[in-house]
């Protein structure tokens, strides 16, 4: 027998006045944050447009940053390649140091620390996450750098045969390595905090299953907790990466900004888009200011891309969990 499909009904919903009002409030709130974001991008694009037009791709590939002479005898030339590379290098160092430590600390806080210690340690961690970055910068310059210099020398001594650990001139201060270590310490609390939150949600019944199969505590971590927390950890790492990419003052204090693309992380020459903007902003003329706006837009877009990649990783990992 053939079934005659009827017309589909339109589902009507009657909303009360309170519901309508609340809908309006949340919609407006979310719209405003989107609009602000779009306005920032539009502003940077508007102010930097001239520079993009004048230099085109050279803006991304050139290593020269020269405001030129006022009388026009020297033409200005702007390129952010070393700063772009530097930002990525420093942030990568920071993430690769911070994430393993964060994982270990979060596992300790969730599963190994004595119960009476967990709460105070967690609060301290959250407090540390709120310390202003300039404090880290000063501390990094005065306390960390003299030590980290020694570590860099040791790495160079033993691993100097690997190209990235080579140093052309034996100066080990204000290198991408030191900036990376400082940033790692800076983002450690936030990454740990996110990881701890995720690990504490690991399903108890699966942990029981691992123990019930003769697993050790580490076995249960490896089989249940780490796979469960993978996507959350990526999210936490990206949060840290965002902060590392955008960090200005702390990096400026411990990194020697040099307008030359450098991948040798122990050498005293590095770059950071954010620090470039901070260091040049005060004395920049109108045209250089536009170039800085363009650099800002580049940083803005990189951060968006990183976040986008992170969220797609998180989504994919999340799907395989269910």
């Amino acid at each position: 027998m053939e079934i005659i499909a009827p017309d589909k009904r339109k589902i009507a919903v009657r909303r009360g006045i309170v519901d309508k009002a609340f809908r309006g409030v949340v919609t407006a709130g979310s719209m405003i944050s989107l609009i602000v974001l779009a306005l920032i991008a539009a502003f940077l694009l508007y102010r930097g447009f001239e520079v993009f037009r004048d230099f085109g791709l050279k803006f991304f590939t050139s290593s020269k940053w020269d405001a030129g002479a006022d009388d026009g005898s020297i033409a200005p030339s702007f390129g952010v390649a070393p700063m772009l590379v530097g930002s990525v290098v420093v942030a990568t160092i920071a993430i690769s140091i911070a994430v393993p430590f964060a994982v270990v600390m979060a596992l300790f806080l969730c599963f190994y620390a004595p119960r009476f210690l967990r709460r105070p340690m967690t609060s301290v961690l959250d407090l540390v996450a709120a310390v202003p970055s300039v404090i880290y910068g000063i501390w990094g310059y005065a306390i960390l750098m003299p030590h980290a210099k020694g570590w860099a020398e040791t790495i160079n001594h033993w691993l100097g045969w690997i190209w990235i650990f080579k140093v052309p001139v034996p100066i080990f201060e204000r290198s991408p390595f030191i900036a990376g270590v400082l940033l790692a310490i800076m983002i450690l609390p936030i990454v740990t905090s996110v990881a701890r939150e995720v690990y504490s949600q690991a399903p108890q019944d699966q942990i029981d299953a691992a123990y019930g199969l003769g697993g050790t505590r580490w076995g249960a971590m490896r089989t249940v907790v780490l796979p469960f927390g993978k996507s959350g950890l990526v999210g936490g790492a990206m949060l840290g990466l965002g902060r590392a990419l955008g960090e200005t003052v702390a990096v400026y204090l411990v990194l020697n900004l040099v307008f030359k693309v450098n991948f040798q992380i122990l050498a005293s020459a590095g770059g950071s888009v954010a620090s470039l903007i901070a260091s040049r902003f005060g004395e920049a003329g109108p045209y250089e200011l536009k170039a800085l706006m363009a650099a800002g837009l580049v940083l803005f877009i990189i951060t968006l891309i990183v976040n986008f990649i992170a969220s797609s990783i998180v989504n994919r990992a999340g799907k395989s969990q269910r």
Binding site: R115, P203, D205, Q206, D208, A209, A210, Y211, G212, L213, G214, G215, T216, G219, A220, T223, V224, P227, F228, S320, Q321, R322
Partner: protein, 258 residues
């Protein structure tokens, strides 16, 4: 009381959660290759008792215990006993199916080998053997690489049984293994239990009187009556259901309370 040297036995077993005395003075013997059903109303300490038998109880914060659990005559709470070794030999199936969602069906079956650091010569044979014994091979044999989470609840529970079997335990503890399953899956799990009991000691907690009558050789009735849970009586299943010694047991199995 003589000390049994085979199977699993408890002597004067107590359990506490912080200050709450949950279980008092349980002495019982589970002979080798038998199925014993633990029955009794909710909160009478059955699950607590079960978790004491393979040292899962101690994972609960502030928990404590007293007494002895004798496995082939030896106290599993002895100072020189490795609890992971005990849990390897005394397997457990939980109330809610809990396969590892990040692993495939096949990986789940052999997950315990890696956890308990057991070597095997042929993983594929072991996977097939365990899934067959758990009554799941026909349904999933062709898709071992599918994620475990794609299975139905009943299949997941039998996968968990297969996972426990892969370690070749001598005892299998089951904590209401069918409470989350539909009748068809329940039936298949019960058939599995029957086959397993030929060469394995099984202790099963159940709220379902018919199930206890169907699958078990012996039954143990627990009751708390306000205070800590106690073992009221344990006997052959037919006796517990037809002519129990204690009137409370009779009331419970006939559904007059609980």
């Amino acid at each position: 009381m003589s000390q049994p040297t085979t199977g699993l036995a408890t002597r004067g077993l107590h359990a506490w959660f912080d200050k709450h005395h949950a279980l008092a003075d349980v002495s019982i013997h589970f002979p080798e290759n038998t199925v014993t059903g633990l029955i009794g109303p909710s909160g009478c300490g059955k699950s607590t008792f079960l978790r004491l038998l393979n040292r899962m109880h101690e994972f609960i914060p502030k928990s404590a215990m007293a007494g002895e659990v004798l496995f082939n005559g030896e106290d599993i709470y002895g100072a020189d006993v490795d609890p992971t070794e005990i849990r390897k030999r005394i397997g457990m199936v939980f109330q809610k199916p809990n396969p590892f969602p990040s692993m495939t069906i096949g990986e789940n079956v052999v997950a315990g080998l890696k956890l308990a650091k057991v070597k095997t010569s042929n993983k594929d044979d072991l996977i097939e053997e365990c899934l067959t014994r758990a009554g799941l091979w026909k349904e999933v044999g062709s898709r071992l690489k599918a994620p475990a989470s794609s299975l139905s609840g009943g299949q997941q529970q039998r996968l968990c049984i297969a996972r426990a079997l892969a370690l070749k335990p001598e005892v299998l503890l089951m904590d209401e293994p069918c409470s989350a399953l539909d009748p068809g899956s329940t039936l298949r799990v019960e058939e599995t239990i029957e086959q397993l009991s030929e060469n394995m000691t099984i202790v099963i907690v159940t709220h379902n009187m018919q199930q206890a009558a169907r699958v078990s050789d012996y039954c143990a009735f627990f009751l708390s009556g306000g205070g800590p849970g106690r073992l009221i009586e344990a006997d052959e299943t037919s006796k517990i259901f037809s002519s129990p010694q204690d009137s409370r047991t009779a009331d419970y199995v006939q559904g007059r309370f609980g």
